[in-house]
Symmetry: C2
Subunit: 239 residues, 2 copies
DNA sequence: GTCGTGGGATTGTTGAACAATACTTCAATC
DNA sequence: GATTGAAGTATTGTTCAACAATCCCACGAC
C-alpha cells in the first residue's frame, strides 16, 4: 500500500444492509414474519409445508429454513413431527414480556442523558407519527408507531444487540393483541403517555420520564393480564 | 369428563424438556455450538457444507438448518454465496456485549430482594464451583463456572427470555476470549470478586452487590478492550 | 503491478424419494 | 354410548442428486 491509498482507509465501512441481497429463505421469512405480526396468520394456525411451498413457489427445504429462523424469534413454534404453528402466547408470556421490557426500557430511559441526541429525536418522531395515525383513525399505523416509540426508547441505550432483542420482544407483544382479538384502537389513550414521556426526556428529566414509563408499563401489563385471564376463563377462541 | 377424572387435572403439566426428542438438525446445532464455545472451531474458520455433512453423516440440507440456528445466535456468520464462518467478534462487539450485560445483570442484582431464594442459592453454587475449579487448575471448568455465575445473576430477574438472551451473550463473550487467544487462567482473580458479590447478595445488600458487579464489569471490559486494541494493532491472527 | 478472463470449487435451490411419526377413521368391545 | 384398538392416510424428517448462481484463484495481456 502506498501513501496515495490513504484516502481509501478513511472511507466508511461497507454497510451490511448494502452488501449482499437476501437469500430466498430470508425473503420468505420476512414475508411470513410480516404476516404473523399483522395478523394475517392468526395465533395457533398451523403452517403446512406443502401448501405454503406451493403457494409461494419455494421448495420445502427453503421453506423449512425460513421456519427455523422464525422459530428462534418465538413467532412460530416447531413441534417435532407435527409441524410449525403461529405462536399462541400465554398469560405467563405476557408477564415475561413486560418483565423484559422493564429491564430494557427503564434503564435506557434513566440514562438517556448519555444517549445520542439523534436517538432522542427518534423518540419524538415516533410520538408524532402515532398521533398523526390516531387523527386519521389508522389503528394499524398507530400500533406500528407505538412499537417504534418503545423501540426508540430501548435504542437510547445504544446497543445493537439490545435493539434486536427489543424488536423481537415487541413483535411478540403484538402477537398478544391478536391472540386476544384486541382492537388496536383501544390503545389510543396510551399515546398521551408517550407524549409525556418524550417531553420529560427532551426537557432533560430522564428520571421523571422513567417514572412515567414505569407507570405506563404497569398499567399496560395490568390491562393485558386482566383481559387475558378473562378470555382464558370465558369463551375465547381455543384451538 | 366425569367427576372421577378430577385427579387428572391436578397432575403437573407436561415438561417441555420431556416432550419430544430433538431433531437431527438440532443435535448437529448443539454439537457445533459446543465446538464454537470451547474453541475447537476457531473464530474466522469457514465451515464447509460438504466436508461437515460428510464428517457428521447428515445431509447438506440438515446441516444448513443447523447453520441458520447458530447464525441467529451470532455464533456463526452467514455470507451469501460464501459460506458460514465462526464469528470473529470485533472490539465494538466487546463493548456492546458489556453494555448488554450491564443492562441485564445490574438491574437483576439490584432487585434481588424480590428474587427466588433458590435463584440466590444458584449464584452461590456457581461461586463454589469456580473456586473448586481454580483449586484444581481446571481453567476450562473455571470459565464455565464463571459463565454460570453471571447466568445466575441474570436469572435473579426471573425471566425466561432474559435468561436465554443472557446465555447467548455469554456464549459470545466466550468467543471473545478465543479470538484473543486469551488463556482462561488469567481470569482466576475475578473469582474473588464473584465471592464478594454473592456475600453481599446473601447478606441482603443487593445495592452493594450491584456496585461490586458494576466495578467488576468495568474492570473486565477495560482489560478486554485493552488487550483487543493491542492485538488489533499488533501481530494478531488475521484471516 | 494492474486489469480482464477464464476454469474450478462452493453455495443456493429445487424436486423427488423414502422413513418415521402423527392423525383419522372405523369397527369391536365393554 | 363411550372407550379401546387397529387399520389406513397424511404430514413431517431426512436424504440424495442435480443444476444454476456466485465466488475464488490462477493465468496471461497490457
Amino acid at each position: 500500500m502506498t501513501a496515495t491509498d490513504d484516502h481509501i482507509d478513511r472511507l466508511p465501512e461497507a454497510d451490511d444492509a448494502l452488501a449482499p441481497v437476501s437469500s430466498q429463505a430470508e425473503r420468505v421469512a420476512d414475508m411470513l414474519r410480516s404476516f404473523v405480526i399483522n395478523g394475517s396468520l392468526a395465533p395457533g394456525v398451523r403452517l403446512s409445508e406443502e401448501r405454503l411451498s406451493r403457494k409461494y413457489e419455494v421448495s420445502r427445504n427453503t421453506l423449512r429454513e425460513a421456519f427455523r429462523l422464525l422459530s428462534r424469534e418465538r413467532l412460530l413454534v416447531h413441534q417435532l413431527h407435527r409441524g410449525v404453528f403461529v405462536s399462541r402466547p400465554t398469560c405467563a408470556d405476557v408477564r415475561d414480556l413486560f418483565s423484559v421490557r422493564r429491564h430494557l426500557e427503564l434503564p435506557a430511559v434513566r440514562r438517556a442523558d448519555r444517549a445520542d441526541t439523534e436517538a432522542v429525536r427518534a423518540v419524538g418522531a415516533a410520538v408524532d407519527e402515532g398521533e398523526a395515525a390516531r387523527d386519521h383513525a389508522d389503528w394499524w399505523a398507530m400500533g406500528t408507531a407505538n412499537m417504534r416509540f418503545h423501540q426508540a426508547l430501548a435504542a437510547l441505550a445504544g446497543s445493537a444487540r439490545l435493539n434486536e432483542f427489543m424488536n423481537q420482544v415487541l413483535a411478540e407483544t403484538r402477537l398478544v393483541f391478536h391472540v386476544m382479538n384486541d382492537p388496536e384502537e383501544y390503545h389510543a389513550p396510551y399515546l398521551d403517555w408517550n407524549r409525556r414521556i418524550h417531553t420529560a426526556l427532551a426537557a432533560g428529566h430522564p428520571d421523571l420520564a422513567a417514572d412515567e414509563l414505569a407507570a405506563y408499563l404497569d398499567a399496560s401489563e395490568t390491562q393485558l393480564v386482566t383481559a387475558f385471564t378473562a378470555m382464558e376463563n370465558g369463551p375465547g377462541p381455543r384451538s
